[in-house]
């Protein structure tokens, strides 16, 4: 039986997008009622991908990136632009198919014939591989290659990719149970079995109803054992997608050309319109924006997958109509929050006063305004299934903050002049935000001690369980469009540790139990709704975080490109639908 019955009908916004000239006018309120992230059927998983209207083949498309791709090995890819470039040459068991006519996004089988099946409520999952799948050297892909790809995630050098499958299969200390294929052994059939060349079955330790979504991550793929040379594989991953690597100079350039072994009939997600892709890496943000705006030479056919235009250029792009038809402005899966250290700020009234006084509108404005972030009422991004436009702390109702009201709360609680150690990343933007936050909190009756932290060690310092700070900015994005990858990682009290992601050190046993209960709900539709309710309940009850804004992508792309879409799950330009206009 299909494991996932239904994913909630998410009223996702048609925010921005090609053709919008005014960013922010199409935000969370302007909805287009598109049902997204529903699980597709086996029929939906059959290739080829729906044709892009007007698409033609040929030409070279370009991409300009601010940084290099640290990881080309799909097993190590986690950063969104790396996952997106990986999607050109790699594939996963499942993936997301976008309907070019409606913009509807559906979870479908990618390497697999469907999104997977479970017979026991989510503990055991089976996928069947499609016919006609091949590596770039013509070797057929079998279920053993999928098992091998997961086994190599246990190797010592594999430290960058998601750890969902490994921990679900073998527990948090999964490396102690198995050292990877270089140890000369395989994972036993009781963990991953491959009864035939087309079938792979995963035996998780507990039920994971969202495994179909987890199987869409870059590292749940197929790796050719004979080509795997450990960490060095990062420089020459073998293609199973429409393109393959022809030239790669770390941090400088990456060139992809067509992979003749890729069969479009096996792929419901990707196209092979352009002849080649050239990635120009390590270009300064300002220069990148200038090049995209000017669109001269090869830049006429260029995009920047995930990087926003530089601050000063955003206003020009917004106000000059010549850029309107080639501007993309969409929500990212990230939500920016200010975390309150619950181990230090133990009084709920103090946290309430912090949230009441916090100058959210000012912070959003300093960080780029509506073009790059829309004021958030809650902890879940609009790109996540089940999202609702809720506002449990009244932030959207009064984004400027209310220091006078906050002062009254403090006064009533006898907490006037409470010292708040506010830590911030010592950048020009961080300094401006620090001034705004300090002013607002001081007006509210707090004694603010602003502590600048070195940018490179910021997360090292705030990530310590005993960090010595009371308030600091963090951000989080869903790994797949369900809040199961937002709420537990950031708010489960059992995950508090040095280097962990529960930055507010929030630990409410009742809420922890709720997370366990919701995670076991087999009806994904219900699960999504309950994650959203729990997120709001945590905010309303304990205030461990102050949501500030939903991050957004904002940039222009070359006028010579067609089919420029947006990958809502990763928060990047969708490279797979792009073609070069004739």
């Amino acid at each position: 039986m299909p494991a996932l019955v239904a994913v909630s009908a998410l009223t996702l916004t048609a925010c921005g997008g090609g053709g919008t000239s005014k960013a922010g006018t199409t935000g969370a309120q302007a909805s287009a009622s598109v049902q997204n992230f529903l699980p597709g059927t086996a029929a939906d998983s059959v290739g080829p991908a729906p044709a892009i209207p007007g698409a033609v083949t040929g030409g070279t498309a370009h991409d300009i990136e601010n940084s290099g791709f640290d990881y080309l090995d799909p097993s190590q890819q986690y950063v969104n632009n790396q996952q997106e470039v990986g999607s050109l040459y790699s594939r996963s068991l499942t993936g997301y198919k976008t309907d070019p006519a409606t913009g509807k996004v559906t979870l479908v089988g990618d390497l697999a014939t469907d999104i997977g099946t479970t017979s026991d409520g989510g503990k055991t999952w089976t996928w069947h591989l499609k016919d006609g799948l091949k590596f770039q050297d013509g070797t057929p892909i079998t279920s053993k290659d999928v098992k091998y790809a997961v086994e190599r995630l246990y190797e010592d050098y594999q430290t960058q990719g998601p750890v969902y499958f490994q921990t679900w299969l073998s527990g948090a200390n999964y490396r102690t149970t198995y050292k990877g294929p270089s140890s000369g052994t395989d994972l036993p059939d009781s963990v991953i079995s491959t009864p035939d060349d087309k079938t792979v079955t995963f035996h998780f330790q507990a039920a994971h109803t969202d495994a179909s979504y987890a199987a869409s991550m870059s590292n749940i793929t197929a790796i050719e054992k004979s080509k795997d040379d450990g960490a060095k594989y990062n420089a020459h991953p073998q293609s199973i997608g429409p393109y393959m690597i022809s030239n790669y100079q770390a941090g400088k350039t990456l060139t992809l050309v067509k992979n003749p072994m890729w069969d479009p009939k096996t792929d419901p997600i990707r196209h092979q319109y352009v002849d080649s892709w050239v990635f120009d890496l390590g270009i300064d943000n300002q220069l990148m924006t200038q090049r995209l705006m000017a669109g001269q030479g090869d830049d006429k056919y260029a995009v920047s997958m995930a990087l926003n235009a530089d601050g000063p250029s955003i206003k020009t792009i917004e106000s000059d109509p010549q850029y309107a038809s080639r501007t993309m402005n969409k929500f990212l899966p990230f939500v920016d929050t200010y975390d309150i250290n619950m181990t230090r700020v133990t009084d709920l009234n103090v946290r309430k006063a912090l949230a009441t006084a916090f100058p959210v509108a000012n912070v959003q404005k300093i960080n780029g305004g509506n073009a790059t972030g829309e004021i958030a009422g809650n902890l879940v991004s609009p790109t996540v299934a089940g999202w609702k436009d809720t506002d449990p702390l009244g932030i959207k109702a009064n984004p400027a903050g209310d220091p006078a009201k906050a002062k009254a709360i403090l006064q009533a609680a006898g907490k006037l002049n409470t010292t708040i150690v506010y830590a911030y990343s010592n950048t020009p933007t961080g300094q401006q935000v620090a001034t705004a936050v300090s002013d607002a909190l001081t007006q509210a009756g707090f004694n603010v001690q602003a502590k600048p932290l070195d940018t490179t060690s910021y997360y090292t310092q705030v990530g310590k369980a005993d960090n010595g700070f009371d308030l600091y900015r963090t951000g989080w994005a869903a790994d797949w469009p369900m809040a199961s990858t937002v709420i537990p990682p950031t708010l489960d009290g059992r995950l508090i540790s040095d280097g962990g992601n529960n930055y507010s050190h929030y630990n409410n046993p009742a809420m922890n139990s709720e997370m366990d209960r919701i995670g076991q709900i087999t009806d994904i539709n219900t699960q999504d709704a309950q994650w959203m309710q729990l997120a709001d309940k945590i905010l309303a009850t304990d205030i461990p975080q102050i949501p500030t804004y939903y991050d957004k992508y904002f940039n222009v792309y070359g006028a010579g490109l067609g089919g420029v879409g947006y990958n809502q799950v990763l928060g990047t330009i969708d490279l797979n639908s792009i073609f070069v206009k004739k």
Binding site: D156, A231, T456, Y459
Partner: protein, 326 residues
């Protein structure tokens, strides 16, 4: 002369060893945790511990330093990443590559930028200085001095984008600046580097023009120049044969030091124009807190500068015997 050079080389060696030790311990005493920086979004204590082990951060700091220092001469093993052959400048965990490979890959861009830029700033700077000296007090002198002053007051990060907007975007005279290996496409390399060469040279040439002007004027008032003129030699001959030659010794010193600086990476020029050279690599290393990459670039740049210092000393020694004796 040989003893002089050996003495200078030994001195440079001591400086390099001290530099490596100081920078290594300085970097690793920072609050930055390289393991935490290398730990991705879903970082867990288990992943963090694994990365720490992979990066050998569990070893005592003195042992880490010894591994690094000895690796410069005999190489070092980096687990599954393989053996890093000497000179091993460490392993960049951010990019999964050996630091030396990154330096070697980026150095040609710096080399081409330095050669082209130096040729322009030397030619233009010396030329302007000579014109100013030749036409002392006249309009040409004032114009050359003014051009030099403007050059000195201008910043690359201002002039670079302006030049690109004008010559690339509006006039379409030049392609987008980029370093294309000259072995691949010599013409593309030349046209792609015209703007970086020119803009970088602007900040240097003013210094040369002022120095050359004053040195030439000083030389022209020397007794031996007057004696040469008195013997009936032509002005042009005296100018080129005696005055310029006498003025060149200090210019060679400055030029050698400037070459050392640009050969070790012109950071602002490389970042402004997206030229992936050594300076650009330094910026990437700092932004990503890639300590081994930072250290590698720093050591390599320092060695370049010291090397050019020795070359300058040797050249000066050849020109002036008093230096050798001293």
């Amino acid at each position: 002369m040989l003893r002089f050079l050996i003495r200078r080389a030994l001195g440079a060696l001591v400086i390099i060893v001290l530099l490596i030790a100081l920078t290594y311990f300085a970097f690793f005493s920072l609050p930055t945790d390289p393991a935490r920086l290398a730990c991705s979004k879903g970082c867990t204590p288990e992943l963090l511990a694994q990365i720490r082990t992979n990066m050998h951060l569990n070893l005592p700091i003195y042992q880490q330093f010894w591994n690094y220092f000895s690796g410069l001469f005999v190489g070092q093993d980096f687990g599954t990443a393989g053996h890093c052959a000497a000179p091993c400048f460490g392993y960049s965990y951010n990019t999964q590559s050996f630091v030396w490979d990154r330096i070697v890959a980026n150095y040609p861009a710096t080399f081409v930028l330095a050669i082209g830029g130096a040729a322009i700033f030397l030619t233009v700077g010396v030329g302007l200085g000579m014109i100013a000296a030749w036409k002392q007090g006249k309009l040409a002198d004032k114009a050359a001095t003014a051009i030099g002053l403007v050059g000195q007051s201008t910043q690359i990060y201002f002039l670079g984008p302006l030049a690109m907007a004008l010559f690339v975007v509006n006039l379409h005279w030049l392609p987008q600046p980029a370093y294309i290996p000259w072995t691949q496409d010599p013409w593309g390399c030349f046209t792609g580097m015209i703007l970086p060469w020119t803009v970088m040279s602007v900040i240097f040439w003013s210094n040369y023009s002022r120095q050359v002007r004053s040195l030439m004027l000083e030389q022209l008032s020397e007794d031996h120049i007057r004696a040469a003129r008195a013997k009936g030699m032509s002005n042009t001959y005296v100018w080129w044969r005696y005055a310029l030659r006498g003025a060149m010794a200090p210019i060679i010193t400055i030029f050698g030091l400037d070459l050392g600086a640009v050969f070790s990476g012109a950071i602002i020029t490389e970042v402004t124009f997206g030229v992936h050279g050594l300076g650009y690599l330094a910026v990437i290393a700092v932004n990503q807190a890639d300590l081994y990459l930072e250290l590698g670039v720093l050591i390599f740049s320092s060695v370049s500068i010291l090397l050019f210092n020795i070359i300058v000393d040797a050249a000066y020694g050849l020109l002036d015997p008093r230096v050798r004796i001293g």
